[in-house]
């Protein structure tokens, strides 16, 4: 898709969004709507909390709507509407599956999405390898061409033609991931470099600020194990040991739960690219249990499900 076409596509979607938000507020279906506004910095957007028509004026939807808005839903703001790209919608589906959110309290405005961009114009982390272009969960869907479809009327015809797989997607957009993202891990492709060196090289950069945890939809424990003091699990000295505990711990806690939004990678002040680990576990869950996070809110999360016939090869595999 040509860049101008993309711009136009978001313009169509933005126009529809304003109408939908107004209607939601009028009909009292939402006390607040989580959406995007233009950021002060060029090529950025910021989360917007719409409570009245004045705020609808500030609404923006363009190719820089990369923040994942789902986490704000945990703050219990009453009946909430939310503009949800596929990754946000998958996070919402996970919240519902994990009993963190009641379906009736959230009105999901799904956005068909072909990937968001970083400030520098490269494809955002997460979006590079994303193959979900229609949110798996929504009340109303705004398609790329601006068409608005209610949930009841939507027949799942799959992804729009040409977008089913990443190769096609990348060929069409002419982009192949953001510069510097040399992870090259695709859910469907096996991990190329499994070395301890690679892991250590990434960890070396980490300063243990925990921003990746805060930005991740999936990290919502009231007190993270890393913050516990009685007993303390690690020292705050960012030594290799503490970093390994943190990153391996986080990866295991997110086993099969990562919705590939890329927020963790985007927020990192040190350019740590450790998401390949989480992605690897994701693809393991897909291969072994046929599970993909947030694709179906009715499905039991793989980490929470117990099956006595499970061989537990994930934990017990000794290779």
């Amino acid at each position: 898709m040509e860049l101008q076409d993309r711009g136009k596509m978001h313009e169509c979607q933005e126009k529809q969004l304003a109408g939908i938000c107004r209607k939601l507020l009028d009909e009292g279906k939402g006390d607040v709507i989580l959406a995007y506004a233009g950021g002060e910095i060029e090529n950025s957007t910021i989360p917007l909390f719409i409570r009245g028509c004045g705020e609808i004026e500030r609404l923006k939807y363009d190719e820089y709507c990369y923040p994942n808005l789902a986490k704000y839903l945990l703050e219990n703001k009453g009946k909430t509407g939310i503009v949800a790209k596929p990754c946000d919608a998958r996070a919402i589906a996970m919240y519902i599956a994990e009993n963190q959110l009641a379906r009736e309290n959230v009105y999901i405005i799904g956005m068909e999405c072909n990937g968001m961009k970083n400030m520098d114009g490269s494809l955002a982390p997460g979006c590079c390898e994303c193959s979900v272009h229609v949110p798996p969960l929504f009340d109303v869907l705004v398609k790329c061409n601006g068409e608005v479809v209610e949930r009841e009327q939507y027949t799942n015809t799959g992804a729009p033609a040409g977008y089913e797989d990443d190769a096609v997607f990348n060929a069409v957009t002419g982009e192949s991931g953001n510069a510097g993202d040399d992870n090259g891990v695709n859910e469907d492709k096996p991990l190329e470099d499994k070395s301890l060196e690679r892991f250590k090289k990434e960890l070396d950069k980490c300063i243990l600020c925990f921003a990746c945890r805060q930005a991740c939809y999936g990290c919502y424990c009231p007190v993270c194990f890393m913050d516990r003091t009685m007993p303390a699990w690690i020292s705050t000295d960012p030594g290799m040991g503490a970093k390994m505990v943190y990153h391996l711990g986080r990866a295991m806690h997110l086993a099969g739960r990562c919705v590939e939004c890329g927020a963790c990678e985007r927020v990192c002040p040190s350019g740590v690219k450790i998401r390949y680990l989480i992605k690897e576990i994701n693809s393991f869950c897909k291969d072994v249990y046929g599970y993909r996070a947030g694709m179906n809110p009715g499905e039991y999360p793989v980490l929470a499900a117990f099956n006595k016939d499970d061989k537990e090869i994930g934990f017990l595999r000794s290779e």
Binding site: I41, S44, C209, F210, A211, S235, T236
Partner: protein, 348 residues
């Protein structure tokens, strides 16, 4: 203050002379992120002078601030067991030349030094480091997105809060000018001139004439008393977007809160100091379980008021230089400049 004029063709070797005998901390770009890297001349294969000269010339602000050279993220203080206690040999004797520090960061380091030296408590570790660091400053040609140094009264083209400040040529006929502001700086300039890399001149810093933004007026300040803002400003609304990630405080050049921790190493205990952040819930958590800053509303309020009100009251400076780092890197688009404008009634 002295000024030496250095012709273009000698610039690189002149910079090489400045960092000679120091471990050089030079901003280098790796994976698209510009960061200070400590480089030891002994490694030999790297062209340090070239990198340093490039860093002075480059008009970008490193992602993280240079505060770590005065105030490292982790520093061991003492080692003890049941019977003995020894202070850890200080690393403050490392001689580091920090290259290409922009005026906002130079001002920030001034704030840090004031906090660690002029208050009730003097921190020898931090001030001791300053004595062994050579700060080589340089100006910014353009404001970066999110920067508001001008509103904070900082001249982006010139600063004397360093040992040596390098002013870049304005056109192709112009030369570089090296200014010195400390005894250490004077010495290096002497060596530079005797070495034939430049000549002394009575050139005045181009402070008045050359900047795009003039010699600035400190516009963005909070005049109101803390008590007026503490409860009246809509902190809940203001902080609603914040995710509490703490990035703003880790990359801020003036944030200086720390924690003391003990770590067991064999049968001894190491006590160390490490950065902490007011944006973390654990920052104010009491042993009883009570937390006086229970939500992001209180935490964000602390961050803004600390920078703009408390440090100013205690040390005379506002602890925000308008470097814009927190604005550029916040995952939720929080903007301290707009918040300060909003609560102090300045129209956005």
């Amino acid at each position: 203050m002295k000024c030496a004029v250095v012709p273009r063709e000698k610039f690189k070797s002149a910079v090489g002379l400045l960092i000679d005998g120091y471990v050089a901390a030079i901003p280098v770009k790796e994976n698209g992120v510009l960061e200070y890297k400590k480089m030891d001349g002994k490694a030999g294969e790297k062209d340090l002078a070239g990198l340093a000269a490039y860093a002075v010339d480059c008009d970008e602000l490193p992602y993280k601030s240079p505060k770590e050279f005065l105030f490292p993220q982790v520093e061991e203080l003492m080692v003890f067991d049941n019977d003995s206690c020894t202070a850890v040999e200080k690393d403050t004797r490392d001689k580091i030349a920090v290259v290409g520090v922009k005026p906002c960061d130079l001002n920030a380091l001034k704030v840090l030094l004031t906090v660690f030296f002029q208050g009730k408590y003097k921190d020898d570790n931090v001030t001791g480091r300053r004595e062994n660091i050579m700060l080589i400053g340089t100006g910014c040609a353009k404001k970066k997105p999110g920067c508001f140094c001008d509103e904070r009264g900082i001249n982006k083209n010139f600063s004397s809060e360093c040992d040596i400040f390098i002013e870049k040529p304005v056109d192709e006929n112009d030369s570089f000018r090296f200014y010195s502001f400390t005894v250490g700086g004077d010495d290096v300039l002497d060596r530079l001139v005797t070495g034939g890399f430049g000549s002394y001149s009575d050139y005045e810093p181009a402070c008045g004439q050359r900047e795009g933004n003039g010699c600035e007026k400190e516009e963005l300040v909070i005049e109101a008393e803390e008590t007026e803002l503490f409860d009246t400003a809509d902190w809940e609304g203001i902080s609603e977007r914040c995710l509490g990630c703490g990035i703003c405080t880790y990359i801020c050049p003036t944030c200086h809160c720390f924690d003391f921790r003990d770590a067991l190493a064999g049968n001894k205990t190491i006590r160390y100091r490490c950065w902490d952040s007011c944006m973390y819930p654990k920052f104010t958590l009491h042993a009883s379980g009570h937390n006086p800053r229970a939500s992001k509303k209180e935490r964000f309020r602390q961050r803004v008021l600390h920078k703009y009100v408390y440090v100013k009251k205690n040390f005379g400076y506002v602890a925000c230089t308008g470097c814009g780092r927190c604005i550029r890197s916040c995952p939720a688009g929080m903007n301290i400049r707009n918040v300060v404008r909003e609560i102090s009634g300045i129209r956005v």
